[in-house]
């Protein structure tokens, strides 16, 4: 187990393209860190630099204080699970898991190898499959074999490169919890690359968001969701994605395409002398006014909207409301959309309403939101003007504390069951 | 990859080029040596001379060499052409149609290609003499098919299996007639594979020596490789080294040109059938 430190890490290709640009990141011992971003953001490259499969152009990567820049992968003692699992097709499951041990000739006795492999196999419930070849395993089983290979080595850290992207949706959910459970129990430092924000939000202690090789924000999932530093992070985290609307400052109000928001002093000071901002509002922060009591309605903004299409999903209901955007922010938003791998469809507002809402296609609905939930961004730089460092930090600290307790509980439970096993 | 290992791969690459070119460069160099210069004990000629080429193209050895060249080109082209046409029909059927005996077709052509050519020569020598095919073009074209046809069937089958045949149907749905679909879709798709197969088959026929030396006796049909073995020097007591070298260079030129033009396709053709199976 180890702490991993990246300091001003750069990866430049011979054509001058910087896949990773000046990334610094401290990963503590036992921490689960996610690298997330749209395709081509450099997250996999960064992971491969940590494990030693890519050269480091500039900067330093150290593991437990030792700079490993020039060390071969085999000397870094890390374990990696690849996207396609990279199982050795000619070896049985047992031999696949034993592979790293077999490489160190003479270090492990046959008995020791067997003991370790069987232990890993029982952790992963692979005991019955040890004699099979990888080709005869299901996707989830292959995934577990790949994890077994990582466990058996007692590596200093686990690295995962989009390990669930080849599984179907249901299995992906199962494997996600599996990975989380295993990491809590083993307490091994883990770096996990994904483009899937659900995985990012559910698995990580901290999530590092990358865009075009540049680190945007590193924070707990909750802080990322509530306090994104800029448009990119705000747009990337959350599903359905955050709505972005042009906001015009007009005297005491902030004029949005569909509604007007009274400007508080706090908001006014943050906006400064800008006349135009981009306003972010999460779909789940919009409510059907009909379903609210009068008191709640009172301290929020209500507006009427022509609902174009409704999607009823059982637990919630998505209402789509087209609106006219302004040319001066359209470019910024189109650019953002491209960065997020979006399709740049027509501008529309998405509202995630409660399932009890009776809004239907073509209705004129009365919608409500709490203006305190609004995020305001600078239209040029994309910076979050409403970013509150203090509460972001608090949110991070809470997550760390929660996480510490969860890990402790998991370890205690593991200890208890071991004691039971030995007592029996 | 670190700088040092890149340098090693460069050295390796250079070694490969040297390895492949060395004997070729040697025979070219030899062809440019004058007879008196042959025993200079050095790789390069003391003075470059074209007299060996004159000897085989216009001089006394031309009676041996030029007909042989004509025979080689003609016989190999005919044998390649027939093989590719027959193989194309066969490979199309194997790749696209479902019929009993596919495995037999592939198995038979594989078995034939593994066959020792010399074992066919023995009986053919006798039969050809009896029916008058000995020392004729036809007498070589027919046995050459035993070399070119199995290879063509295998290579073309491998190529044809890779072709997205549904394109043909797509073209017909798009309104093309059968003839148009064939001309505008199938020919461009299958063309490169057929051409590559033809080149490889031609190489094999061009390389033959056993049939050439066993089934011919005069310049009526004797191909170049066999003719090279019959070269004699300008005088009885002179080694024909220079003349052989010059002739070797000339028959190597078309091969090198084809390789330069089609290297990518040839590699695909040589390995596709073999490894994918």
């Amino acid at each position: 187990m180890a702490a991993i430190t990246l300091s001003h890490v750069v990866k430049k290709y011979s054509d001058g393209f910087a896949a990773v640009n000046d990334v610094s990141l401290d990963i503590e011992d036992g921490e689960f860190v996610i690298l997330v971003g749209p395709s081509g953001c450099g997250k996999s490259t960064l992971l491969r630099m940590v494990v030693g499969l890519e050269d480091i152009t500039d900067g330093e990567i150290s593991i437990d204080g030792d700079v490993v820049n020039d060390k071969a992968p085999r000397d870094r003692k890390l374990a990696m699970v690849f996207q396609n699992y990279a199982l050795y097709p000619h070896l049985s499951v047992f031999e696949n898991i034993a592979f790293p041990l077999r490489l160190e000739k003479g270090r492990y006795s046959e008995e020791e190898v067997r003991r370790r492999v069987e232990k890993a196999a029982s952790t992963l419930e692979l005991q019955e499959h040890l004699d099979r070849k990888p080709a005869n395993l299901s996707g989830g089983q292959r995934q577990r074999v790949a994890m077994g290979r990582a466990i058996v080595r007692e590596a200093r850290a686990f690295l995962f490169d989009e390990p669930l992207s080849n599984l179907d949706a249901k299995l992906r959910g199962q494997m996600r919890t599996e990975i989380a459970r295993m990491q809590r129990r083993l307490g091994t430092t883990t770096i996990y690359v994904t483009h899937d924000q659900t995985e990012a939000m559910t698995l990580g202690d901290r999530v590092a968001v990358l865009k075009k090789g540049v680190l945007q924000q590193v924070a707990s999932p909750r802080a990322l969701y509530e306090h994104p530093v800029n448009l990119f992070v705000a747009g990337f985290i959350g599903s359905p994605p955050m709505n972005f609307l042009p906001g015009e400052v007009d005297g005491d109000v902030l004029r949005l395409p569909l509604a007007e928001v009274p400007l508080t002093d706090e908001l006014r000071s943050r906006i400064g002398d800008r006349d135009l901002v981009i306003v972010g509002l999460r779909p789940e922060h919009l409510e059907d006014a009909d379903t609210l009591d009068d008191e709640t309605r009172g301290h929020g903004v209500t507006f009427e909207a022509d609902v174009d299409v409704v999607e009823w999903l059982g637990a919630e209901l998505y209402a789509y409301i087209p609106f006219e955007t302004r040319d001066d922010v359209a470019d910024t938003l189109a650019e953002l959309d491209r960065e997020l791998d979006g399709e740049n469809m027509r501008t529309q507002l998405v509202a995630a309403l409660g399932a009890e809402s009776h809004v239907r296609d073509g209705d004129v609905a009365e919608l409500w939101f709490d203006p305190a939930r609004l995020l305001v961004f600078d239209p040029e730089s994309g910076d979050n003007l409403t970013y509150d460092e203090e509460s972001a930090r608090r949110s991070d600290e809470e997550s760390v504390e929660e996480r510490r307790r969860a890990t402790e509980r998991a370890r205690k439970r593991a200890d208890r069951s071991r004691d039971r096993d030995t007592a029996a | 990859m670190s700088g040092r290992s890149t340098a090693w791969w460069w050295v390796g690459a250079l070694a490969i080029v040297l390895y492949c070119m060395f004997p070729v460069a040697w025979i070219v160099s030899l062809s440019l040596k004058a007879p008196s210069d042959l025993d200079n004990g050095s790789f390069l000629p003391s003075a470059v001379t074209w007299q060996n080429y004159e000897l085989i193209l216009t001089g006394s050895a031309s009676e041996l060499f030029l007909p042989a060249l004509r025979n080689s080109v003609g016989i190999c082209l005919i044998a390649t052409g027939i093989a590719v046409v027959l193989a194309a029909l066969c490979a199309y059927a194997v790749a696209r149609l479902d019929f009993p005996g596919k495995a037999f077709v592939l198995g038979l052509s594989l078995a034939v290609s593994m066959f020792p050519v010399i074992s066919i020569v023995t009986p053919l020598f006798n039969i050809w003499r009896a029916i008058g095919l000995f020392d004729t073009w036809a007498g070589l074209v027919i046995p050459y098919l035993s070399i070119t046809l199995p290879l063509s069937i295998w290579t073309l089958t491998a190529f044809f299996r890779e072709i997205p045949w549904e394109m043909e149907q797509a073209a017909q749905v798009d309104g093309a007639t059968t003839a148009q679909a064939f001309r505008k879709v199938i020919v461009p798709l299958a063309g490169p594979g057929v051409a590559t197969t033809a080149i490889i088959a031609f190489f094999l026929a061009w390389n033959d020596f056993v049939y050439g030396i066993s089934l011919t006796s005069t310049e009526a049909a004797r191909p170049v490789p066999a003719a090279l073995a019959f070269f004699t020097g300008a005088s009885q007591f002179e080694e024909p080294t220079g003349a052989i070298s010059a002739a070797a260079v000339i028959v190597t030129i078309p091969v090198v040109v084809l390789v330069l033009l089609f290297q990518r396709q040839i590699v695909a053709g040589l390995t596709q059938g073999a490894v994918k199976g």
């Binding site: 000619h90 | 005996g101 020792p116 098919l145 490894v275």
Partner: protein
Amino acid sequence: MSATTSTAPPPQRAPRTPHRSDRARQEARLGMMLCAPAILVLLAVVGYPILQAVWDSLFSYKLTNPDARSFVGLGNFVLVLSDSIWWQALGVTVLITVVTVAVELVLGFALALVMNNALSTLRPALRTAILIPYAIITVVSAFAFRFMFDLTSGFMNLWLPFVPEDLDWFGSFGTSMAVVALSEIWKTTPFISLLLLSGLAQVPGELQEAAKVDGATWWQRMRRVTIPNMKAAIMVALLFRTLDAFRIFDNIFIMTNGAAGTESVAFLAYRQTIQRLEIGIGSAVSVLLTIAVALIAVMFVKGFKVNLAGSTRAGR
């Protein structure tokens, strides 16, 4: 050149009712019709002569004296198999086959590795270079090597250290065989290396990386990951080259003409039939050679199937 039918995955067919539909029957008829010309030609060109050879081998038959043709049963075979010339030729053939194929496999693997790792800018040049020995006429390469080692025109004795200047390479068995093998190796290694290269290309790069992370050295990755995963390509290359080397004729004809005990089986068959016109004995040698080649092929394919099933089905 291609793999055995056993390497092909069995065609996926829907379970068929005993009654073929009209359409299926038509398709089958068309398929057989399209294949018929090629198959008939192959049978005529190879099948008929080989039967004729088997027939001829049962007679004492000399072209110089055709009237004295008489049936001797297996007499020719007894004659051949009890003669030391046959065993000498077989020994030479086996020796050349084993030596050249072994060297070619190692050398070809090295070439394939270099090509696989060479920068992509170098690759076309390498591919062109490597095809040249493959495409050059065997007779030409044989002459090139013969002249290289020749006492008059050669330069090798001057270039090579520890070699007396007047060494006649073609004067004794060992040195002649060395030059013959050298020429054979030069000419056919590229073919092997191309097959191995395409085998190498089929080993996923991710496996290499995984092994690196798992702590494997270069040599361990080669031995434990790369080579086991390209067994199929190696076996195909071995099979083709072994059968090919077993038929060696051109090099020996040009370089030694069978002198110094370097006669191979194919050369023996040629000399008996074409030079001595001993059709009966020559046919017997041809038949024996065919049997030997078939035995090698069967041996390979038998051992082969097992390996293939293991390595191809275990894809990701």
